[in-house]
Every structure is written in structure tokens, then in C-alpha cells.
């Protein structure tokens, strides 16, 4: 493909990389070539082998076979030090920053020049200034990491790589934690880096990002590179099919909603957290039967606390009614089990920290939160056999892969973990379903499936409250959208009568009324 007359060597070339973990072939004969000054996307479902490939490139794993060429030089990368020396920088999905260090301290961490910090810090400060102007990467060098927004923390990670002279920057699912505007800023920075001649490898499962920002894209499926194409010459549908191996429905099949009686009624809800900060400042919200109400908003504007109150693990004041029954918001009868008894099921925002016990087997997780129900007891013991049988059946029906109930939750991919949670909550046939970030870190095939399950539940006349930071998801699933900003609801819109632009403004704190006034 490459013209022989190309003067600059390839920034990066992988030839025939293979890596197996026991019987699992994570990477199989993978070859890529990336030109300098381009953004190269790598897309694939969870478990397709993207992360393994990048870990090999960054020296975390050693390939069983294959060769790595950097700027035309054959290079061996036994550890991350060697990767850094070869000019490779990595921005992980979960940042590797010390929370209670300043930006500057984090940047020199591991790259100090000597036993005394002062000279290194001074040098870093100077260089940081230069990088900031060169790439528009502005971060206060003396700010504490814990005080920075997620978007800024990510910039620190990028700065860390640039400070170590990275020429090739690998970003693993960089927008998973960002708001739409933060994501836009990130891509502006990446664009700038590209113009300055840096090479960027973008790992993502979001087709939109691939289509909008990359020059070339490689698709991985089941450890193999199924295609490498110029982005301009492909379509989202085509990429999705290459990823999943079958045709995928990218849009949710949504019939018009037929809202019935008010099921969930929230009035003047207020939440004050442990440090005394008011997180939710008097919310009124109603969800009817057969309706999905979506909460849009930048993460950290009170949506999580709202879900936690309704799910029974956060105290609050105000009033919440389900089917006309007042729910206690503090003290006895306000815990998760009481909420479940009241007909509320909850797919929490963070499946790994809340929704699942990662060390438990899938079958044990299949009753998590419902394990006190009489149907799972056998005298004084738990009916483990019965639970196991039901779990195996449920995993089959919800297409959890692999369908092995004895496998620990941590051994499933993100999408399949989410299916385990969704299956558990939906199968209880609740009156109200709370669902937070239903598809965060979930691959396309599973997104389609989970969205369809939510839609089915709506069509059975259930009340669904959806919280997602993916505006696209809220718009495509919800019938009604409420935007939260700073603990308040800025306004409600019919999903069919609004768009990302209007919601984006409301998410930034411009209220509906103000906008109409303008």
C-alpha cells in the first residue's frame, strides 16, 4: 500500500504480532503500519485484543512472536522504560496519577533528574509552559490532581507523555470519562499534536470518534486484525459490521411511548453529602408507566446522588413516592432491600464497584441484592443449586458470553458484566427501573442488546429513569429528557423536540427559560 518513494519512514510498524494467554489467542499475527503525523484508530469490541496489543507495544507483555519497528528501526520493548525510551507514550483509560500530588510533581514522577526535586521541578515548570503554548495544553502546574476535572487530569497524562519526549501517543478509550465538550477539547489537542508531527493511536469503540477524527482505522475482532482502511473510505455501518461480524442496528428501534399513570414521583428532593455540600438542590421529577425519562448532564451534577437516593444508599430529604406509596429517605426502611421490596430495580452507574462483586461467580452475582428473598432460601441455607440453575438459564437468554455461571464476574468483559447486571434487574419485573450509564465501556453488539431490553421493558409499561453522560444515548432512548446542572433540573424536553445543541447548552447551565429569553 505504502508508496515506495515515501521519504519519511513509518512511525510505527508491527509485523506478525502474536500473543497467547494459555489456550486463549489474544493476538494472532497482527500487522499494522502507522504513518507519522496521523491519527490511527483501532476499533474493536471488548476482548477483541486491542488492549493486549497496546500492552505489548508498551512493554507490559512480551509478544510470543512478531516484530516491532519504530521509525524504521527494529526495536524490542521488554518493559515500559524501553517503550518510553523509544518515544512511546500511553494515556490509560484509568489515569495513573497520584491524587494528592500537584500536576508538576506528577509530571516528573519517575523522570526525576536526581535525588533533589527542586531542579527537576524547575525544569519541568519551564518545559510545561512551552508545551502549553505549543499544543494549547493549559493546566495549572501547582494544582492538586484531586482538584482537577477529569478532562484536565487527562491533559496531565498527555503532558506526562510529551514531557518524556513521546513521538507516538497511545490513548486507550480516552473519551469514556469525558463530557461532550471535554471530548471536543481533547480532539482539538490531538489535532494540534498531529499537525506538529506526532503520531497518535486512538483506541476506542465509539464509531463517531473514529469517523470524525482518524485518518486510518484498523478493526480488530477476536484477536485478529480484520481490516485496515482509510477512514474517509468507510462508513459507520461498515465498520460496525467488521467489528461484530454481522449487521448491527446502530439506531434504537423506538415505537412511540404510551405513558400511563405516574409511577415514580419525586418532590423537592435534597441531598447533602458527608462533607456538607448540597449535591441535589430540590428536584421535582415524575416518571410514568411505559415511559423512559432520561437525565442528561455533565457527570458530577447530582445525577449519581439522585440514583443513589432512589436506590437506597444515600440519605436525602423531600419526598419520593412509588405507586403513591411514600418511601422513607433516611434511617430504617431506606436501604436497598427496602427499595427493591417497593418495586425499584437498579442498574447502578458503576457495575464494578456497585452492581457486582467482582470476585463472586456469575451465579452468585445473579441474585446480588435479592439474595434475602425467600425464593432463594432452602431452610436456613441458601438454595445455591436453584440459584445456579436459574443463573445458567438467565445467562443463556441474555446472551452472556461465555455462558459459564461458575466464572468470576471479573473474568467477563465489560459488556457481559453489564448484561449480568441488566438481566438480574430486569428479570425481577420491577415497577421502576433505575439505570445509570447503561452502556459505559460496553461494546457495540452488547449496546444494541441492552438498549433493546430497556425498550422492551418500557413497552411492558414500566417506568424507567435513565441517567447517562452519553447525550446521544439519552436522546435515542428517552421519551422525555431532563437536564441536570449543579444539583438542579434546568428543564425538561420531549426527546423528539430537542437536539444535542439545546441540551448541551442546558448542561452548561443555561436554563431553558434563559434561553427563551435570549
Amino acid at each position: 500500500m505504502a508508496a515506495p518513494a515515501t521519504p519519511a519512514p513509518l512511525a510505527l510498524e508491527l509485523r506478525g504480532i502474536s500473543k497467547a494467554f494459555g489456550p486463549v489467542q489474544a493476538n494472532k499475527d497482527i500487522s499494522i503500519s502507522v504513518r507519522p503525523g496521523t491519527i490511527h484508530g483501532i476499533i474493536g469490541e471488548n476482548g477483541a485484543g486491542k488492549s493486549t496489543l497496546m500492552s505489548i507495544l508498551y512493554g507490559f507483555y512480551k509478544a510470543d512472536s512478531g516484530e516491532i519497528y519504530i521509525r524504521g528501526q527494529k526495536t524490542s520493548i521488554p518493559d515500559s522504560q524501553a517503550a518510553i525510551a523509544a518515544g512511546i507514550g500511553m494515556v490509560f483509560q484509568h489515569f495513573k496519577l497520584v491524587e494528592n500530588f500537584t500536576v508538576l510533581e506528577n509530571i516528573i514522577l519517575g523522570a526525576e533528574d536526581g535525588a533533589l526535586l527542586r531542579p527537576s521541578l524547575a525544569k519541568a515548570r519551564k518545559e510545561l509552559k512551552q508545551l502549553a503554548t505549543e499544543y494549547e495544553l493549559n493546566v495549572d502546574p501547582d494544582a492538586m490532581i484531586e482538584d482537577l476535572s477529569v478532562g484536565h487530569q487527562q491533559r496531565v497524562e498527555i503532558l506526562k507523555a510529551l514531557y518524556r519526549q513521546a513521538e507516538i501517543l497511545i490513548l486507550d478509550e480516552p473519551t469514556g470519562v469525558l463530557t461532550p465538550s471535554e471530548a471536543d477539547q481533547l480532539f482539538r489537542i490531538l489535532d494540534r499534536l498531529r499537525t506538529e508531527g506526532k503520531t497518535i493511536i486512538l483506541i476506542t469503540h465509539k464509531l463517531r470518534e473514529i469517523m470524525e477524527y482518524t485518518d486510518t482505522v484498523s478493526v480488530m475482532r477476536r484477536g485478529q486484525m480484520t481490516a485496515t482502511v482509510k477512514t474517509a473510505e468507510t462508513t459507520p455501518e461498515g465498520l460496525a459490521e467488521l467489528m461484530v461480524g454481522r449487521k448491527v442496528l446502530l439506531r434504537v428501534d423506538k415505537k412511540p411511548a404510551q405513558p400511563g399513570a405516574e409511577i415514580l414521583k419525586i418532590q423537592n428532593l435534597r441531598v447533602i453529602d458527608e462533607s456538607g455540600v448540597e449535591r441535589v438542590k430540590g428536584i421535582d421529577l415524575t416518571v410514568r408507566a411505559g415511559e423512559i425519562v432520561g437525565i442528561a448532564g455533565v457527570a458530577g451534577n447530582g445525577q449519581s446522588e439522585l440514583l443513589e437516593v432512589l436506590g437506597g444508599f444515600q440519605d436525602a430529604t423531600g419526598s419520593v413516592q412509588v405507586n403513591g406509596q411514600e418511601l422513607p429517605l433516611t434511617g430504617a426502611g431506606s436501604d436497598g432491600q427496602a427499595r427493591r421490596a417497593a418495586g425499584i430495580a437498579h442498574v447502578p452507574e458503576d457495575r464494578q464497584k456497585e452492581g457486582l462483586i467482582m470476585e463472586f461467580a456469575a451465579w452468585e452475582n445473579s441474585v446480588f441484592g435479592y439474595h434475602h428473598e425467600p425464593e432463594y432460601q432452602n431452610g436456613i441455607l441458601m438454595d445455591n443449586k436453584g440459584i445456579l440453575t436459574k443463573a445458567a438459564d438467565q445467562m443463556e437468554r441474555f446472551d452472556v458470553r461465555p455462558p459459564h455461571p461458575h466464572l468470576a464476574a471479573k473474568n467477563f468483559s465489560g459488556g457481559n458484566q453489564q448484561k449480568i447486571v441488566v438481566a438480574r434487574e430486569i428479570e425481577r419485573n420491577p415497577d421502576v427501573l433505575l439505570i445509570g450509564q447503561p452502556t459505559r465501556g460496553v461494546d457495540i453488539g452488547a449496546i444494541e442488546f441492552i438498549h433493546q431490553q430497556i425498550m422492551n421493558l418500557r413497552d411492558q409499561g414500566k417506568a424507567i429513569l435513565l441517567v447517562s453522560v452519553e447525550l446521544e444515548e439519552v436522546l435515542s432512548l428517552a421519551d422525555r429528557v431532563a437536564v441536570m446542572f449543579d444539583g438542579q433540573i434546568m428543564g425538561e424536553r420531549q426527546a423528539s423536540e430537542t437536539d444535542e445543541k439545546e441540551l448541551g447548552l442546558m448542561m452548561a447551565g443555561v436554563s431553558g427559560a434563559q434561553k427563551e429569553a435570549i
Binding site: 494467554f21 464497584k353 467482582m358 434475602h372 441455607l381
Partner: protein, 365 residues
Amino acid sequence: MGKMPLWADAILVPLISLLLAAFFSALVILGIGESPVEAFTLMVDGALKRSAGWGYTLYYTTNFIFTGLAVAVAFHARLFNIGGEGQAMIGGVGVALVCLYIPWPHWSLAIVGASIAAALFGAAWAFIPAYLQAKRGSHIVITTIMFNYIAFSVLGYLLVEVLRPTGQMDPASASFPEATHLPNFHEMFAPEGSRMFRGAPANVTFFLSLLACVFVWVLIWKTRLGYDIRSFGFSETAAKYAGISPVRITVIAMLISGALAGMMSVNTTLGESERLILNSTEGAGFVGIAVALMGRNHPIGILMAALLFGFLAQGGAELALWTDIPRELIVVIQALVILFTGALDNMVRMPLEKLFLTLGRKENA
């Protein structure tokens, strides 16, 4: 992911770790100018060859099973109960009170009463640190350690000022009535006139400790409460999501833990000394931590680890008796065992895992 077969994980890894510990122990023994081979033979002879040796080994094993289980139950709720020693001491007070003040007609009733009292007293002693942890966030490691010292002082006071019969010199209670005497192994198993198990302290409480193993296994893996405890231990946030009360589980897990530690005193106080004495726990509460660590908080593992530590305790006593090797050396050997089986476990495990991976791949190829 390729995995090691279960037998390698459960048996081969600890075995290799043990051999390593034995090797380094041998070096230490060489270093103080004794013969490791002789020392080892002596330990095996003293602890395992003769029935009386077994009678001591199993006596210690019984103690370690109780304290090991105590640590394990708490640990499943991610609570580090270092207070087994104190809980066992106070459990002993419970045993002494019911045995001295209730006229038991038969030992079979006495052991039930003593077990209940030991469990209640041990649990009560664990309750205060548990409550402080659950409600006030006082770290349970600190409070349980402190409570060991308090227990020791309380025990001293009770023995000197309250329970000591007038005119007696040593700080100990009166002997328990004859009817509470628990059958020891000699009485239970030795044929008429045989010397089997004679003079050894192992008694019927050993079987009680085996029952406790079964109880803990059922509790942790078969009941709702066990499910709650493990959930809470793995993830407090997830437990809250599921409606499991952290306060409730912290307190309950510690109560059970304290009860198990307390029940050790049935073996020492009722089974062996037959009166309450000052230092009947002999550090078993602390050995329980090592036992739970080595046994991976599973009753079967704890049983095996307790046997090993029982062997070390008895073999060590023999060493001190017959050689110039000080008894403290046994603590060194125990420490090496803990170091290799617990802290340095991955040193053995990881190369082995790799070995099995490559072997597995060759078979597949």
C-alpha cells in the same frame, strides 16, 4: 486465561513454600552450631512418632483451629481481628464461671455450657472494638490489639482478687469439679492397660473444633449471612448498593469471630488445666493469624495449617527439651513458614503458573 490445576494451587504451592522455609530454617540451625537433620528428626519423633506426641500436637492444633477460624471469619468481612488472644482469655473467664458456679452432672453437659459461655464471653470482648469500628471508624486492628492488653489485665485482676481461693499462692482459680472433667484421648482411645496418648492433653474438644470447621464452612458459603459477609468483605460500596448494612455485618462478623476465639478456652481451660490460669492462651491467638493466612481463610486449609503449627509447637518444645536449641528458634521457624507461605507466596506461585502455562500450551500444540 490458563490456570494451574487445583491440586497444584492447593498442595504443590504450599508444599514448595514449606520446603523453602525448612531449608532456611536448616541454615539458621546450622548457624547456631546444631545439626538440622538431628533437630528435624527430634521434632518429628517428639511430635508425630509417639502417640503422646500426637496428643500434644493435636492439643495445640485444636487451639489453632479455633483461633484460625476466628481470624478467617472476620477476614471474610475484611476485618483484621488481631484480638483472638484477648478474646480467648476472656472466653476462659466464661468457662471458669460456669464450671465453678454451676453444678454440672456430667461432662457432656458441662462442655455445652462451657462452650456457650466461652463463645458469649469471647463475642462480648470482640463487640466493643467491632462497635467502635462500625459506628465510629476506630481501626479494628488498633482496638483489638489494645483489647488484648486489657484482657490480660482483667484476667490478672480476676485471678488475683476474685477467683483465687484464699490461701492459694499462684494466680489461678480453684480446680473445676470432677464432674466437668473432659475425656482426653487416653481415656477415649487407649485400650485397657495401654499407654496410648497417656499424659497428653488432647481431649474431646478436638472434635468440637472439627465441628467448628464445618460450621464456618456452612456459614460462609452456604448461608445468607455468609453471602452478606463475603459481599461486604469484597466491596463495601457494592454491599451498600445491595442493601447490606456495613454496621450490622461488621458487628456480626466480629461477634462470630470473637465467639470462635473464645471457644479455644474450652480446650485449654476446661480440657487441659481444669482451672483458670494466667497464661493458658500461650500466644495461640496470634498463631491463629498465621494459620488463617496459610489456610487461605478456608476451613480445610485452616485445619491443615493448624496441624502444621501444632507440629511446630510440639516439636519446638521437644527441641528445647533435648537440645541446646532455644525454644525461641521455633518462633523463627514459624516466622519463616509464615514468610514463605504467606507473604512470599507469589514467589513460588508465579513461576509455577508460568510452568503450567507452557506445559499446557505444549499439550495443546
